[in-house]
Symmetry: C2
Subunit: 342 residues, 2 copies
Amino acid sequence: MKNKNIDIYKIADEAGVSKSTVSRVINNKAGVKDSTRKKVSKVIKDLNYKPNSSAKGLASKKTQTIGLVISDITDPFFAMFVKGAERKAMEANYNMMLANSHWVVEEELKCIQMFEEGRVDGILMISGGSEKRLDSYLNNLATHNLDIVVVDRKIENEKIPKLNADNVDAGYRATKYLIDLGHKRIAHIKGEDVASSDASRDRVKGYQKALAEAGIKDEIIYPGYFAREEANQATKKLMTEHPEVTAIFYSSDMMAIGGLKALKSMELRVPQDVSIIGIDGIEMAALMDPPITTLAQPAFEMGYLGMEKLIKKLNGEASNSHTEDVIFQMELIERDSTSKLD
Amino acid sequence: MKNKNIDIYKIADEAGVSKSTVSRVINNKAGVKDSTRKKVSKVIKDLNYKPNSSAKGLASKKTQTIGLVISDITDPFFAMFVKGAERKAMEANYNMMLANSHWVVEEELKCIQMFEEGRVDGILMISGGSEKRLDSYLNNLATHNLDIVVVDRKIENEKIPKLNADNVDAGYRATKYLIDLGHKRIAHIKGEDVASSDASRDRVKGYQKALAEAGIKDEIIYPGYFAREEANQATKKLMTEHPEVTAIFYSSDMMAIGGLKALKSMELRVPQDVSIIGIDGIEMAALMDPPITTLAQPAFEMGYLGMEKLIKKLNGEASNSHTEDVIFQMELIERDSTSKLD
DNA sequence: TTTATTCCCGGGAGCGGTCCCAGAAGGTAA
DNA sequence: TTACCTTCTGGGACCGCTCCCGGGAATAAA
C-alpha cells in the first residue's frame, strides 16, 4: 500500500552490490564473500525486506506451498491429520493451503483444480469418495503436472505414493473382538452408502471376514454416512428391526457416539445390553460415558508422514514409490463400552 | 513436469489471437467480440489451460489468497471458525493458507511473517496471546503492508477492523446464572495465566462484576490454560483447597469437560453437588454426561463474517472501520450440568 | 613476472501474466 | 467520399525474482 516497493534492487543499491548477489545471500548460495554476505544480510534485516513470493514462484517454478485437501476440518480425525501435516510442512519450510471437500466429489475436484493454477508444488489429499472419475483425474494430474500423495484411497498408479490404514484388518479385529467376547448378533454401521470411501468398504470386508470365520451367517449392515446424527438414526432403526443384536461395530468413533446416544434414548444400557466399538481413536470417544472402545488410527502420524513423503517426492528423493506405500496398523484401545456376553 | 508449458502464448497461437485478448477473456473483461471470446474460451477449455497464479500475482499484485492464523485447529471452536472462514473465502473465490500458532506468540509472529512475503492479500487472525510486541507488529503491518482483520483481540488501531465476542458480558452472564440459581461459593477456571488472552481476561472481569453486584466477596480463580487436562488438575486443586465451592464457571467448554471428569473422579456429582457452566458451545459439551450448560459463541459466523470483512476491505469497500467493529453476543444454552442450590 | 585457477560478482535474458496505448476495422454522419 | 467515432485487437513495457554466463580480482603455480 504505502511502502515504496522495497524490492531486491533496493537492497542491492543499499548494500552496494548487484541483485544477483542479493539473490545469492537470500537463498543461501555459495560464492559470496563472507563480508559481503554480512553486509547484505544487515541491509535485508534493517529494511525488513521479504522477497516477493510470486516473483520467486514465477522465476523458480516453486511456490514452497502445498495443497491439502480433506473432507471436513470439523472432524477431529481430520483436524489431527492436518496438525501432523502442518508440523512437517513447517519443519520443511513449506506453507499449506487448506481446502475442505465436505465429502462431496465435486468440491474435491474443485479444490484440486484450484490448486492446479500453479500456486502449489504438490497436493496431499486424504480420502474422499472413491469415484472413478476422480481417480482418472488424479492419474492424469500425477503424470502430467503435480506431485501428489494420497491417503486412505486405493488408486492404481505407481506414480502416486499412498498411505493407508489397514482397514480390512481393522474391521476384522473390531468384529473379532466382539466375537471373542461371546457376541453372535453383531451389527455394523458402515460409513458411506453409495460411492463409498475405500476405507469404509474395506472395514465392511473385515467385518464380513470375521463373521464368516466364526461361522456367523447374519450380516447386519446399515449406513451411517460417517456422521454422528445419521448414525444415531441408523442405530434406532437397526435396534428396532433387529432387537436381537447385542453388539455394534461402528466405522467411526463419531458414529459410535451418535449410536451411544440412540441406545441410551432407547433405554438400552451400554455395555450391559449392547456392546459398541468404534474406529478412529478421537479424544472425544474417551470422554463419553461409558468411554468407548475403539481402534485408533494414528491421525497425526498419517498427516506427518504423508507430508513428509510428498516433500521428499518434490525434492526428487522419492525412490520406487510403489514398494514404498505405507500401511498403518490401528491400535485397539479397550475401554468400557464392551462387555462379555453371558 | 512433462507438460510443454502451456501458457497464454500457446492459447493465443492456437486461437489465432494475441495474448492480450486471451487475457481479456480469462478475466472476463469487456472489449472482445463475442465470437472471438467463444473461440478463445474453447481453446482454453480444450487445452485445460490454467493461468499461472504466480505470474498473475506478480503482474497484478493480487494473489487471491488470504492467510488464516489460529491457535489450534484441533480445538473444535477454531475448527468451526475455520469452516466459516473457508465458506466465505470459497464464495469470493479466495484461497486460504492455514497456520497454527499453538498458543505461542513466537509462532504467531512467525506465521504472520511467512504471510508477509507477498503470498497473501490479507490476514485473518483470531486471538492469540495479547502481548504488546505482537500488537505493535500488527499495527506496523496494517499501516504499511497488509490488510488485516482481527478476531477476539483488542487492539487499538482504527486501521484494523475487529470482531469480538462480548466476553465481559459472557463472564457476567455465566456467573449471574449461577448466582440466580442460589450459588454463593462460585469458582472460576480462567484461560491463560500470564500473557492472558483478552478473551480470558474479559471473562474474568465479568465474573468479578457479577460477584460484586451480588455482594459476594470471595473470588476464587484458578488458571486452566484453555486446556482440558490442565483444567482437570486445576479443578482437583480447587476442590481440595475450597471444598465449600458449589459452582464452577469455566472459561471454555473444553475446560469444563476436563473439570467434569475431575469432579467425577472425586465422587462429586454434577449437578447435585457442584454445578458447572462453560463457554464456547462446542458440540462435544452437549454429548457429555450430564450435558454441560454453556454460553455459545457463533464460531462459524465469526469466521464467516471475519473473512467477509477482510475481503471487503481488500476490495476497498471498507467504510469507517472503527465504528464498524462487530460484537457478538453469546447465547446461553441451558443443559443439565447446573441446578438450583437448596 | 606471467599464466592458470579459483573466487566473487554483475549483467541480461527469461518466467507468464497485466495493462496501457496505439492502430486496424467497421459504422455512421456530413 | 471523407471525416470521425466506436469497437476490437495487438504490441510492448513492466512485475520482482532466478539463473546462466562472462569478466575482473585475487591467489596459486610456473
